[in-house]
C-alpha cells in the first residue's frame, strides 16, 4: 500500500490541487500580489467612504448642540457682560463658556501667525452648549443678540457643516466611481490571467477533453484556480488594510478631530462590510474566470 493512501485521510484526492494551477509557475506566484493590491485599493476606497461618513456624522452630532457667539473686539466690556448675562438667562442653554483672549489668539494663530499684537481687537468668542430636550430657535436668539449690539453675531456652524457635507458627498461619489473602476480592473486582470492560463494549458485541456471532461468541468477547474489565487490575493489585501488601520490608530488617536474615528480599530459594521466586499470580489473574480474559460472552450471544435 502506498504511503499516500495511509497519509491522506481527506476524501477528495483533488481537493487541494487545482488542475490548472502549478504552484511553481510565475502566474501562481504573482497573481495573488496583483489581485491583492487591487483588492486592497478597493477595500481602502470602501474604508475611505465609511470613514468620511463617520467623520461628517461625528461632526454633526458634536456641533448640532454647540453654537458660538462672536462679539466684535471693539465693543465695550459692559456690552460683553450684557451678552453673557442674556445668554445665561436664556432657557435651553446649558452652559455659557467665554473663551479667554489667549485661547482666541491660539485659534487665530494658524491664519495670522504667532506674532500678534496684544492691542489687536480680537473678537470675543462664547461657546454655548444647548439642551437637547429644549430646542432653541437660532433666529430668535440671533435677533436678541443683535438687539444688544449689531456687532454681536451667532454662528450655528450650519454653513460650515453644509459645506463639509457637500464636499464629503462629492468625495463619496468620486470614491464609488474609483471603486467601480478598480473592480473593472480586477475583472479585466482575472480575464487576462485566465486567458494566459488557458493558453499555457492547451495540452492539459486537450488531454482532459480526451478523457471525457466536459467544458463545464474544465471551466470549474479554472474557477478553482482563480478561487485559490484570489483568496490568497484577498488575504494580502486584508493584511495591507489592517496595517493601514493600525497605523491610523497609532497616529490618529492623539488628534482630537480623528480620535473618535480611529477607535475602535475594527468597528463591527465596517468589519462586516469589508468581509462582505472581499467575498463579493472573490465571487466576481471566480465568475469572470469561469465565463472566460467557457468562451475559450466554445471555440475548440473537437
Amino acid at each position: 500500500m502506498s504511503t499516500l493512501f495511509k497519509r491522506r485521510d481527506a476524501d477528495d484526492i483533488f481537493r487541494n490541487t487545482p488542475i490548472f494551477l502549478d504552484e511553481e509557475h510565475l502566474l501562481a506566484r504573482f497573481v495573488p500580489w496583483i489581485t491583492g493590491v487591487l483588492i486592497f485599493v478597493v477595500l481602502l476606497v470602501l474604508f475611505g467612504m465609511m470613514l468620511s461618513y463617520r467623520l461628517v456624522t461625528t461632526w454633526h452630532s458634536t456641533m448640532e448642540y454647540t453654537w458660538t457667539v462672536q462679539i466684535d473686539g471693539t465693543l465695550t466690556p459692559d456690552k460683553n457682560d450684557a451678552v453673557l448675562k442674556m445668554l445665561r438667562e436664556t432657557g435651553g442653554i446649558t452652559s455659557v463658556n467665554p473663551l479667554d483672549k489667549d485661547t482666541s489668539l491660539a485659534l487665530l494663530k494658524p491664519w495670522l501667525g504667532g506674532d500678534l499684537s496684544k492691542d489687536l481687537p480680537i473678537p470675543m468668542l462664547i461657546d454655548i452648549r444647548l439642551d437637547k430636550t429644549q430646542p432653541l430657535d437660532p433666529e430668535t436668539l440671533s435677533k436678541r443678540l443683535s438687539a444688544i449690539d449689531p456687532h454681536v453675531t451667532l454662528d450655528t456652524h450650519e454653513q460650515w457643516l453644509g459645506d463639509v457635507s457637500a464636499l464629503m458627498k462629492n468625495f463619496r461619489v468620486l470614491m464609488i466611481a474609483l471603486g467601480l473602476l478598480l473592480i473593472l480592473g480586477l475583472v479585466l486582470a482575472i480575464t487576462l490571467v485566465t486567458r494566459m492560463n488557458f493558453a499555457l494549458n492547451q495540452t492539459i485541456i486537450a488531454t482532459l477533453h480526451m478523457t471525457g471532461a466536459t467544458d463545464r468541468f474544465i471551466a470549474e477547474e479554472f474557477e478553482r484556480s482563480t478561487l485559490w489565487l484570489t483568496v490568497k490575493g484577498t488575504s494580502i489585501g486584508l493584511i495591507l488594510l489592517i496595517s493601514v488601520k493600525v497605523s491610523l490608530y497609532f497616529f490618529g488617536r492623539h488628534e482630537p478631530m480623528l480620535a473618535g474615528l480611529v477607535t475602535p480599530i475594527f468597528p463591527f459594521f465596517e468589519t462586516v462590510c469589508v468581509i462582505a466586499l472581499s467575498g463579493a470580489l472573490i465571487g466576481l473574480s471566480v465568475w469572470a474566470s469561469r465565463q472566460t474559460a467557457l468562451r475559450r472552450l466554445a471555440k475548440i471544435v473537437t
Binding site: 502506498s2 476524501d11 484526492i13 483533488f14 488542475i19 478523457t211 471532461a213 466536459t214
Partner: protein
C-alpha cells in the same frame, strides 16, 4: 452507440493538413469488437493521425469515421465527453499532468466522470498495483522513469474500462523487458474484451504477440 456495430469504421476517409500534402486517401477499414490490431508504417506515414481521427482529436477532410456505429461527423459537441469515456488513449508523449501525482493522474478520467473519491480511490489503487506503481502513487511524473510514465499513461487510459483502446507507440520509450511487460498488460485487457488498436514499430513484439496488422503506406491502408 449501437450494440452490434463494429468498434471502428473508416469509410473513404481522406486527411490533409491545411494546404499541405494529403496524409490519407479514401481509407477504408473496419475493426470488429474485441479485436487487437496493429497499425504499422514508416515514420510520417500518418499512423498517429489515424489514431487522432479515431478519437476525434482531428476532423477528417473527407469521409466518415464511425465508432461503435456513431458517426463522428454527426456527433454533437455536447455528446463528445460521454463518447470519449468509452475510449482510452495512450499517447506517444504520455501527456501526464506534471504537477499532479501519479495517483491523481490515473484518477483523472474517473474524476472528470464524476466518480466519488471513495469509489475512485479503490479502483485507482487496484490499477496502480496492476501496473506495478502502487509505491509511486504520491510521486510526480517528473520523478518517474520512462517506463513508469508509460505504465502510468496506460493505467490512466484503462481506468474507465474503455471499450476501445488506442495506443500510439506505447512501447516506444521503454527497453525490451519493459515492452514485454506492457504487452502482457495489453493482452490482458484484450482478453477482457477491449478492442485495441496499437501503433508500433517493434517487429519483435509483433512476432511475439501476433495480431492482425494494418499497413499505412503512401496514404493508403491495407491489411497485412
Amino acid at each position: 452507440m449501437r450494440d452490434n456495430a463494429p468498434a471502428l469504421e473508416f469509410r473513404d476517409v481522406s486527411m490533409r493538413y491545411d494546404e499541405g500534402r494529403a496524409v490519407m486517401h479514401q481509407v477504408n477499414f473496419t475493426l470488429e469488437r474485441g479485436t487487437f490490431t496493429y497499425i504499422r508504417g514508416r515514420s510520417g506515414a500518418g499512423k498517429s493521425t489515424l489514431l487522432k481521427l479515431a478519437y476525434h482529436g482531428l476532423e477528417p477532410t473527407a469521409g466518415h469515421i464511425l465508432v461503435f456505429g456513431e458517426d463522428l461527423r454527426r456527433l454533437p459537441r455536447a455528446r463528445l465527453p460521454q463518447f470519449r469515456r468509452n475510449i482510452g488513449v495512450v499517447y506517444q508523449d504520455f501527456r501526464l499532468l506534471g504537477h499532479l501525482t501519479a495517483l491523481q493522474n490515473v484518477a483523472m478520467p474517473l474524476h472528470v466522470a464524476g466518480v466519488k473519491s471513495t469509489q475512485l480511490r479503490a479502483d485507482v489503487k487496484e490499477l496502480l498495483d496492476w501496473v506495478g506503481l502502487s509505491d509511486k502513487a504520491s510521486q510526480l511524473p517528473v520523478t518517474l522513469s520512462g517506463g513508469e510514465k508509460q505504465r502510468l499513461a496506460i493505467a490512466r487510459a484503462v481506468i474507465t474500462k474503455p471499450k476501445l483502446l488506442l495506443a500510439d507507440e506505447p512501447t516506444g520509450n521503454v527497453d525490451d523487458k519493459m515492452a514485454m511487460k506492457l504487452m502482457y498488460l495489453f493482452e490482458e485487457l484484450h482478453k477482457m474484451g477491449t478492442t485495441i488498436l496499437m501503433v508500433t514499430h517493434n517487429d519483435g513484439l509483433v512476432e511475439r504477440f501476433p495480431h492482425p496488422q494494418l499497413m499505412l503506406e503512401d496514404g493508403y491502408v491495407h491489411a497485412v
